[in-house]
Structures are given as structure tokens and as C-alpha cells.
């Protein structure tokens, strides 16, 4: 079932609220007026009863007839029946009185042949058990008509006011929800080509401003990711194009005429290098794609970071000695993470640091154990990092060293991106900074 529109829903709710409010007010009012009439009738009938008792206390005396008539004549809509203790009807002052009257003592209401009566039953002599019964009847038909009219009026008011609020509510809801429609119009216009559309946040009502802000932020993130993804695909194509064209050209040229066997061997070797480079690139990209899809789930094994770092420094020792760079490690901490992933992340940073450290320089790994987490800093002496380059350092295929731009056989520019993915998969962050000629990559890992 299709759900109702928000405006219709609101309008119906408004109408229901109004109906409930006016209905209860009406019911309350008609109850109160009815109770008021009953009270008035009671007072009147009580007064009459007293007069009649007085008039009838000596039923034998001759003037009692006159006094009775006199008592009754003063109230035109009042009728009287006197019943004996044996149920025998003694007296009716009017011919139109209904046959059957309520027998219970006290006040009650009777409806007979289109007329309404308030009926009061009481013994004539209060102190005699076999006293005849007095039944006083007060015609209240006009009161009841008034009450009925009142009830009709109440129903009419309820209906009309509900209808009116429904219509007004629908209008109010529609105009109140106009910013939402504007939002949906913008949202429906968004496509991969127009991710730069934004909602105007300034003239939004406060309730929606936050949503508009989130919406815009979402569009911003989408736009950013999409830009990166487009750039990434373009970069992949570009990165693969160079080795592919080398392979094509080299193979074709080699095959154009017969050559000594050595030339073929050389051609195959050269092709092999290109192919290995491409295979490495594809593997790295698959790794990053996995990270992007949240499929990079690190194992959680207890690690002594100082030990891991020392092993890596030992691994890099030949390279460092060759470049006459000192490797050092300070501090230690425990961390639960994936050994081989973290080694890979750290090895990329060390490799990177060694690449940019001049001879006689130093590469330092500092581990700081803090309460909330731990930080691992890889820093190297040298020229520092150009501030303008920093935001792009972790981008895929970004190479800081322009000399290595074109397909240097070993380095595809994915190392830092992979390191970042690994650190993020561990719930950590990585950033870079530069200070007094030191380039610094700071990894922050949360306590597990």
C-alpha cells in the first residue's frame, strides 16, 4: 500500500485533533446544561411536593379540593396522580397522563407519546407506611428540544471545524514543507555529471537547515570520492598505457626481421620487466580496491612494535648502509594488529624515507605509548616536504620525486596510499608534517 503524503497525513491529524477537542467541549457543555435542568426541575418539584402535602394533609376537609386545584393551577405544565397504597389509582388531574409511570421513589425521566416528563414519586404522608403515593409530572418537552438542538449544533460544529482544519492544515503543511520539495528537486537533479549542485542553507527553517547541511556534506563527499575515482581510473589507464605501449612497440620491432638469438632474449627480458611492473601495479590496485570496499580486515595479534620495527630496520640495513644513512628506533609499545599488514605499511614509509634522505642523514622511528593510543613516527632528515605537496602525498599514483615520474621500474606511487589504507583498516590515522628539514609521517593508532 502506498503511504499517504506528508501533507495529507498532517491535514488529517489536524482535523482529527480539532474534532476531538470540539467534540469533548460540546459533550461537556451539553452534559452541564442537562445537569442544570435536572437540578432546576428537582427544586421546582420539591417545592410543589411540600405545597401538595400541606394541601392534602387533611383530605377530608371540604376546602382541600379547592386548595389542591389552586395548588395545581399555579403551574400549568404540572400534573398529579395520587395512587393508593394498594396500587389503586385515586386521582388524575389531567386526562392525558400516561398509564404506566415509573414506580421508583425520587426523580426520574419519562418519555411518552412525544412528550417528556420529569417524574417525582413520594409518599403523601412521610410517617405512614401505607400512605398513598403522590406522583408529580413536569412536562419538560421544550427543554429536551433545546438540548437536542444543542447536540445537533455540536455535531455540526465538530464536522465543520474538522473539515476547515483539514483544508487549512493541508495548505499549511504544503507551504511548511516547501523547503523539502525544493530539497527533493535538487536531489533528483543530482547525477554523476552534476555532483556540484547544493541546497541553499541560509533560508532554510532551522529544523531543515541541519538536514540540508548533511545533504550538502554528503554531496560534497560524493563529489570528492567521484573525482578521486575518476582520476584513479584515468591514472590506471595512463599508468598501464606506458608499459603496454613499450611492450607493443618492442615486440613488434623485434619481430620485423630475423635477429640473432641474443636480441630475442634481450627483448623478452625487457618485456618481462614491464610485465612484472604491471603485475605489481595490478596487485597493488587490487589491494587498494579491497581496502576501499572494507574487505581489508586485519588480524589482531599482540605485537611488540619495537621488535617489529627493529626487524624492519634490519631488513633495510643494507639499503641504509649503502646510502650512508643511519637508522634509529626510539621507544616501544604494544599493539594488537596484523603483523604482515603493519610491516608492509611501515616498510613503505621506511623505503620512502630512505629514498629522500641525503647521505650522512638519518631515519628515525619513534614509538610513543600514550594513554589513549600510540603514535609511531617515521622521520627523515633532508629537505622536508613542500607544504603544497602534503595534501596530495597519500593520493594514488602521486610521486613526489619528479625524476621518477615516468615508470621507474620499481615504484608506482601507490606505497603511501597502501600504507594509509592499512592504518585506516586498523582504525588509525596517518598524517605528514615537515619541520626544520625533517620530513615526518605520524601514525596514530587507537588502543585496542
Amino acid at each position: 500500500m502506498r503511504s499517504l503524503s506528508l501533507s495529507s497525513r498532517l491535514a488529517l491529524l489536524f482535523a482529527a485533533c480539532t474534532a476531538v477537542v470540539s467534540l469533548s467541549a460540546g459533550v461537556l457543555f451539553s452534559r452541564a446544561s442537562e445537569a442544570h435542568f435536572v437540578e432546576l426541575d428537582q427544586q421546582l418539584l420539591d417545592g410543589k411536593l411540600m405545597g401538595l402535602r400541606r394541601a392534602l394533609h387533611d383530605i377530608q376537609s371540604s376546602d382541600s379540593q379547592i386548595r389542591l386545584a389552586d395548588e395545581l393551577s399555579r403551574q400549568a405544565d404540572l400534573s398529579l396522580r395520587i395512587t393508593g397504597s394498594d396500587g389503586q389509582r385515586w386521582y388524575d388531574n389531567s386526562a392525558q397522563l400516561p398509564d404506566r409511570l415509573p414506580q421508583k421513589p425520587g426523580l426520574s425521566t419519562l418519555n411518552d407519546a412525544g412528550s417528556d416528563y420529569r417524574v417525582l414519586n413520594a409518599p403523601l404522608f412521610v410517617d405512614r407506611p401505607d400512605s398513598p403515593q403522590l406522583t408529580l409530572l413536569l412536562d419538560i418537552t421544550h427543554h429536551q428540544h433545546f438540548l437536542q438542538r444543542m447536540q445537533h449544533l455540536i455535531w455540526l460544529t465538530v464536522g465543520l471545524s474538522a473539515l476547515a482544519t483539514a483544508l487549512l492544515g493541508a495548505w499549511a503543511a504544503r507551504s511548511g514543507l516547501r523547503p523539502l520539495r525544493r530539497m527533493s528537486a535538487v536531489a533528483s537533479g543530482v547525477s554523476a555529471q552534476s555532483l556540484n549542485a547544493r541546497l541553499p542553507e541560509e533560508n532554510m527553517p532551522p529544523e531543515l537547515a541541519e538536514m540540508a547541511h548533511s545533504f550538502n556534506a554528503m554531496l560534497g563527499r560524493l563529489d570528492d570520492s567521484f573525482q578521486r575515482l575518476s582520476a584513479f581510473s584515468a591514472d590506471i589507464a595512463h599508468e598501464l598505457r606506458t608499459p603496454l605501449s613499450n611492450l607493443l612497440t618492442h615486440t613488434q620491432v623485434t619481430l620485423t626481421r630475423p635477429r640473432p638469438i641474443e636480441d630475442y632474449r634481450e627483448a623478452l627480458h625487457s618485456n618481462l620487466e614491464e610485465l612484472q611492473w604491471m603485475a605489481q601495479l595490478v596487485n597493488d590496485m587490487l589491494y587498494l580496491a579491497k581496502a576501499d570496499h572494507g574487505l581489508l580486515t586485519p588480524k589482531r595479534e599482540p605485537l611488540e612494535l619495537a621488535v617489529e620495527t627493529d626487524l624492519l630496520l634490519e631488513f633495510f640495513a643494507p639499503l641504509a648502509e649503502d646510502a650512508r644513512v643511519t637508522l634509529r628506533r626510539e621507544g616501544h609499545a604494544r599493539f594488537e594488529g596484523d603483523r604482515s599488514m603493519l610491516r608492509r605499511a611501515l616498510s613503505n614509509l621506511l623505503d620512502n624515507a630512505l629514498r629522500f634522505t641525503p647521505a650522512e642523514g638519518e631515519v628515525r622511528v619513534r614509538i610513543v605509548d600514550q594513554v589513549k593510543g600510540l603514535s609511531l613516527t617515521v622521520e627523515n632528515s633532508g629537505d622536508g616536504i613542500d607544504g603544497a605537496l602534503m595534501p596530495r602525498l597519500f593520493d594514488r599514483f602521486y610521486r613526489a620525486d619528479p625524476a621518477r615520474q615516468e615508470s621507474s621500474s620499481e615504484h608506482a606511487g601507490l606505497g603511501l596510499a597502501i600504507t594509509q589504507s592499512i592504518i585506516r583498516a586498523h582504525g588509525g590515522r596517518i598524517r605528514c608534517e615537515s619541520e626544520n628539514g625533517w620530513s615526518r609521517f605520524v601514525i596514530e593508532l587507537p588502543r585496542t
Binding site: L311, F315, P318, M341, D351, E410, H411, A412
Partner: protein, 226 residues
């Protein structure tokens, strides 16, 4: 030594068989899972190389059948899917090793040799030797032509690995994994530098070079008659 390759991609299968045969093995190739399983169950192979995705029965089903029949033939998986679950699944079922495509043939060859060597370790050796190069495992000493050569612990481990697997082309990734326990893809040239430094000590002063670079594949320790 008879190996069985079950691989449905004709080109891959063909080159694998050729490469393994030329490396001195007797490799057979089948392209579908059902035939592969029948042959594997015959028990006459020293090693199975299985692709995961196969027509008929997939690599895992073959592995299960083989293990179910009580055969402990080493199994090397080739998979194009680099998903962790795949590896875990394969290893849980009793696979001995796996390689993710694309892989280098030298890597495959090295793994195949490792798997075949597993289980039949030669009696405790006290020294390793090639030509006039001698490595004393007990006293941790290296001599060449009677001349003592000083090596660092890692140089020693590297040379030991090269000597134990002399004649085999060892890819850089395998060296990093065996000598430094670094089991990750890395584009660093640490191994090149380490080999160069080892050469400096072992080979440079001698006319008969023993450490050779096989371009694009790795390094090999062998005596090549000039």
C-alpha cells in the same frame, strides 16, 4: 617427479607445463575438474597444482576428495581471487600453499620446490659447499679457496639459503620471506643491495663467479663454466 596441473585456461596451463618440464619435472596437464580429480586420486603424483575455478569440479572439491581418500599429496592452489576468505577456505581444507594470479613463474617454481622438499629433509648437514666456497654451519664460518670470509648474520643466512637451493632461481620475494621473514609485496630494492654486498665479499676477488642474476626472475647460486 610427476606433477599434476589442473588448469582450464589453455595458455596458462600450457606454459606452466612447459616451464615445469623444462625445470626437470614431469608435469601433466588436464583442463577439467572431473578428469583432474580422477587422476589426482590415483596417488601417483608428487604434487598437485590446482586452479580454484574449474569446469566440472572446482579446486576445493578436488582437494576435499584427495584428502578424503587419505592422500597427503602436497597441494598448491592458484587463485585469481585475492580474497582472504579464499585463502582461509583453501588452507582449512588442507591446501599447502597458494599463489594469487598474476604470479611470476619463478615464484611458482620456488614454491613447488619448497613443497616437494618438505617432509624429506636431508640428514643434519654440518657444511654446505659449492666449488671452492664452503660454509660451516656449526662454526658459522665461510671460506672461499681456503680464505676465511667475514659475514654478518643476515649475509650468512642469505648465503646459506642460496647454497641450500643452489641451481634454483630464487625470486626476491622468496628471499625476503625466508631470510628476513618479510612476507609482503614490496617494491623496495633491499634484496638487490643485499645480494650486491654479498657478491662483494664472496665473488669479487675470485674469477669464478658463483652468484648470478637472472634478469627479471631472481638470483641463482651455481658454478658456470666460463
Amino acid at each position: 617427479m610427476k606433477l599434476l596441473i589442473v588448469e582450464d585456461q589453455p595458455k596458462t596451463g600450457h606454459y606452466l607445463r612447459q616451464g615445469l618440464n623444462e625445470a626437470g619435472f614431469n608435469a601433466e596437464l588436464v583442463a577439467d575438474g572431473c578428469t583432474g580429480q580422477q587422476l589426482a586420486l590415483s596417488g601417483e603424483y608428487a604434487l598437485l597444482i590446482l586452479d580454484v575455478m574449474l569446469p566440472g569440479r572446482d579446486g576445493w572439491q578436488i582437494l576435499q576428495a584427495v584428502r578424503g581418500a587419505g592422500l597427503d599429496t602436497p597441494v598448491l592452489f592458484l587463485t585469481a581471487r585475492d580474497a582472504v576468505e579464499d585463502r582461509v577456505h583453501g588452507l582449512e581444507l588442507g591446501a599447502d600453499d597458494y599463489l594469487v594470479k598474476p604470479f611470476a613463474f619463478s615464484e611458482l617454481l620456488a614454491r613447488v620446490r619448497s613443497l616437494l622438499r618438505r617432509g624429506n629433509t636431508s640428514p643434519q648437514e654440518t657444511s654446505l659447499q659449492l666449488a671452492d666456497l664452503r660454509l660451516d654451519l656449526i662454526r658459522r664460518r665461510v671460506e672461499r679457496n681456503g680464505q676465511r670470509i667475514d659475514l654478518t648474520a643476515k649475509d650468512f643466512a642469505l648465503l646459506e639459503m642460496l647454497l641450500r637451493r643452489q641451481g634454483e632461481v630464487l625470486p626476491k620475494s622468496l628471499i625476503a620471506s625466508q631470510v628476513w621473514d618479510m612476507n609482503f609485496d614490496s617494491d623496495t630494492n633491499v634484496i638487490e643491495v643485499a645480494i650486491r654486498r654479498l657478491r662483494l665479499k664472496i665473488d669479487d676477488e675470485f674469477p669464478n663467479k658463483l652468484i648470478h642474476t637472472v634478469r627479471g626472475m631472481g638470483y641463482v647460486l651455481e658454478e658456470r663454466s666460463a
